[in-house]
Symmetry: C2
């Protein structure tokens, strides 16, 4: 059986052990695990979404309404756009896949920041496209622009706020950048963490409406972060209706579960939960900032729901990651991004208290 060469070249999937089994080996019970490695909402599922999920269990046998009518209407109201500007994906990941699939192949290039969301490169490789990265550590639109002019990529990914580093781009700079890119090149604005950024600083706030008249720009949002539905795999893309119409050609029917649609619609309306999430995030982030100052550790300014520690030579992110794991604490070691750094999701006050205590003990050893 002949698989495409670029499929052969993809890394082999290593089946990991479930987290709960790993923890059990360390003698840690499931209810004691502190999971701050995946930027999930530490307050959990919104009460409204949880109630809807429980009430909807008997709908699990029924295929979803494939028009996604209710959710698209709710998103339209939220953002002041039309349902025809929206495509719903199994996480915003799936919209990334649709974009790469629709535009790229092994003759095209994709431009992105040096250190950014890992799935951009993975999807690029799924279609054989070549990845070009800036040399700068953080997003740098000047470098992007000069690489754009040099390589003429078919697609550019901007992630603001950026995962896994947390920096964001001022709206004015993003809009200037967009106008300097040819309409032939697709710009994907990944705004998975934008709700946190808007709360922190209005100058960095980008809304779908800002980009909707550019035929080549796609705004991505997700229900996995502030909306507390990481486990339900649902996100969205917003763009000019002609662009959305093209991406829809690649959307398989029923790409979202019936329960995810119900939960997402409910979570959009739970304003109290969103407020609590934001307030907790930035109040608690201050504790990490104070801790870093006190211990002379370098952190990056974060516009998202996590904080990234850049470690100095005496501290090793992999070793610290394992030591924390043995205490039942999961954080993200950024070694796979080529960094001696740890990304920690801002947790609840109780979780952060424990994390900072353990981290303090580990680094002072």
């Amino acid at each position: 059986m002949k698989f495409h060469q670029y499929i052969h070249d993809l890394p082999t999937y290593e089946v990991g052990k479930p987290l709960e089994l790993v923890m059990r080996e360390y003698g840690i019970q499931p209810d004691r695990i502190i999971k701050l490695g995946s930027n999930e909402n530490p307050l959990g599922v919104s009460p409204s979404a949880k109630q809807v999920l429980m009430e909807s269990a008997s709908l699990a046998s029924i295929y979803p309404d494939d028009s996604y009518h209710e959710l698209k209407n709710s998103l339209s109201d939220l953002y002041g756009i039309q349902p025809s500007n929206i495509i719903i994906g199994s996480g915003s990941d799936q919209i990334i896949e649709f974009c790469v699939h629709a535009i790229c192949d092994n003759t095209t290039k994709i431009l992105m920041a040096k250190t950014t969301f890992a799935m951009y490169e993975i999807y690029a490789k799924h279609f054989g496209a070549k990845v070009i990265r800036t040399k700068d550590f953080l997003h740098n639109l000047d470098s992007m622009l000069s690489l754009y002019k040099k390589h003429k990529p078919s697609m550019i990914f901007l992630c603001t706020p950026n995962n896994p580093l947390g920096e964001a781009l001022p709206k004015k700079e993003v809009m200037d950048f967009i106008t300097q890119i040819d309409k032939e090149c697709c710009i994907v604005l990944d705004c998975a963490y934008m709700e946190y950024c808007r709360y922190k600083n209005e100058e960095y706030a980008i809304y779908p409406k800002d980009i909707i008249n550019f035929p080549n720009v796609i705004y991505l949002g997700t229900f996995s972060k502030i909306y507390g539905l990481g486990g339900m795999r649902i996100g969205y893309g917003i763009a000019h209706e002609k662009t959305i119409s093209m991406l829809h050609k690649l959307r398989p029917p029923f790409n979202i579960t019936t329960l995810s649609l119900k939960a997402a619609t409910a979570s959009l309306k739970d304003k109290d939960f969103l407020e609590q999430t934001l307030a907790n995030n930035f109040t608690e982030m201050q504790r990490y900032i104070s801790f870093a100052k006190q211990k002379s550790l370098q952190i990056l300014e974060s516009y998202a729901n996590f904080i990234t520690f850049l470690l100095h030579n005496k501290l090793n992110s992999t070793k610290i990651g394992i030591l924390l794991l043995q205490e039942g604490i999961v954080v993200r070691n950024l070694e796979s991004y080529g960094l001696n750094a740890l990304r920690i999701t801002i947790g609840t006050p109780e979780q952060n208290q424990i994390v900072l205590e353990k981290l303090s003990t580990i680094i002072e050893k």
Copy 2:
């Protein structure tokens, strides 16, 4: 922005109205709709799965365990295979996509029966592959074999039992066919309805174990039909571990919701529910068979959870479909398959009673 030509050539997605809105226009309340158009389990969600879903609502914020450890172990036990022989997809549809993506492009051909599951062709077109179909109405392996020899396709789809016609292939014929196909060609055995077929006739029963030593054959199963989880988007592919390893390279992380995994694992173990589903299906199918005989209507022998009526010239499937819809009954009009035929999911006794009464009135008008 330059989209691939084969994306342009795909049909534009027409946003339909949600079923409940259509029905409301006909004056029919949501709880009175009889939904027998999508081969969902008419008994609904299994009680075990429903309980697990309700208990798991607060896990909706947590990404799934991406190893799918628990579900793979349960499937391994059921089929006497290894977890390394299994890949989990967002419906078995997603496994079809992985296969086409890994093997096909605009230089390759895919062979399938004249009238079979619509998604095979849709995914073929997503990757620009050419579709070749047999001329025979039902699956005919002799025709398949001669077309295989003539066109040398990279992939063959067999759907047994076949959606939307209901016929199945004897195991012996399938195994003979497989041995006559070169190992360079991938054979996808879509067994979404196989549980019904095994119950009806052991000679038509195919198990994953039967094909697992052929490196080029992939068995597809789903939780959408007998397991009553159509709304949770979960299915699986089973094959030689080398083949599964290649397909895994294309699986995005977290392609299944946390709740779907829990529900699928629970539904596998609810043997009473499966027995009830099978008994209801074949007892109730008899009523459709008797009805057809009584009204001199042609039906196809079905090995699945639906029955297909081939209508004669005086009856029009589109008209009948609309008249049933106005009564709150949804069935599948097969006009889009080029047939004057209706596919009706076998419902509960109460549902079938109403459907047969209404159908009787309509055809006698």
